[in-house]
């Protein structure tokens, strides 16, 4: 069972970096600005999933699964808090991912706007042709 879990976890990590590699290829090698933006969003999503993986914990015991970092009662006793802390996953990566997603959304909107303006002014989103333009 443990070997299977290790295999699955390693596959997850490898697929994340494989995904990052494909999106980096998209950012570097594709000439279209729109495709660069799409690849950039895939790259940032991959980084976010990696951050979530960093905050994960294995099952504390075979009966207890990890739970989201949310206390389900507004008036917890000491036992509630102790049980919560023994089961909940790390909340800090989730908070970082939350901010990263919002910044990513805003930056993507800005980039889309920039690309639209480039297209309006030059009639193309191909960086090779934009780079050759003079004046």
């Amino acid at each position: 069972m443990n070997e299977l879990n290790v295999f699955l976890f390693n596959t997850l990590l490898f697929s994340l970096f494989f995904n990052a590699g494909i999106s980096l290829y998209g950012i570097f090698a594709r000439p279209s600005l729109i495709k660069k933006i799409i690849a950039l969003t895939i790259f940032s999503d991959t980084a976010n999933v990696l951050a979530i993986v960093v905050g994960y914990r294995t099952w504390p015991s075979p009966e207890q699964s990890p739970i989201p970092p949310v206390i389900t009662t507004t008036n917890p006793t000491t036992e509630d808090i102790a049980r919560f802390a023994s089961q909940a996953v790390d909340p800090l990566p989730q908070a970082l991912v939350l901010t990263a997603i919002v910044i990513g959304l805003a930056v993507t909107l800005f980039l889309v706007f920039l690309t639209l303006q480039v297209y309006r002014l030059y009639g193309t989103t191909d960086v090779r042709r934009v780079a050759k333009l003079r004046g």
Binding site: A20, I103, L105, L109
Partner: protein, 278 residues
Amino acid sequence: MRIKKLLVLSSLIILVLTFSLAFTKGALGYYPLPLPGVRTLAYWYLITTLNPRYPSFTAMSPEAVTAIVWDYRGLDTLFETAVFFLAIVGALALARGISLKKALDNANNKDNGKGLSLICKTATRLLTPLIIAVSASIALHGHLTPGGGFQGGSAAAVAPLLILVIFSVYFLLSKGVAEKPMLVLRTAGLIGIYLTALAAVLIGLVTGLNAYVFQNQPKLDAPVGIPAQVSNALISGTLFFFNLSEYLAVASGFTLVFMLLSIPEEIVRSFISGEAHE
């Protein structure tokens, strides 16, 4: 050209393999599986997030993520909000001189026959209030359940986006959702965030007690705090107000950018060429 392609490909393959090897062999600090416990910092966050036994450390919010975002690491979020709004300001600056109002006036754009079919329009009419209600619930319960101002605001911005696609930007304008009101709402949200961040300091100035910027609950050397409960309902001090302000700011900011993105091409071209001639 061929060598360049090979170079890119091989460097990417090396990158992927190196990182995968490093991370599967313990670069995350554990090997081979995640530990059954959490890091000490995470444990500290988890036991203090809603714990009346530690009155000077707790954030009084059952949602540990929101507690970190707006209390423990609140300054980070403040500057992150600044980045977010700088991006929107940048988009607005790129669209300077393009007035939606003028575009609405000068052409025969008041035609309401624009947009997709009647089925789409009716479905949108039914869905839009639901989207707004759900997004408000996400934002206002942000200190209790997963969610918060950012998520609620982004969800709320879907409603004007749907209207933009299914009706037209002129329909949205005729309903009063224009640049100016959105800018006012966004500014109101930002002012709300800054006032909430300074709330404890303002109370401290009035009462003469010690207080910090971004303070939520009373601390040992700063007895000023925002009440965690209002008539037995948990509002987690400043977190509720942060979420509310952020909701307004994010929703209106995104709506503004979506509207600017959806201005018809010929109108933008006329503005751009007009600029060139002047």
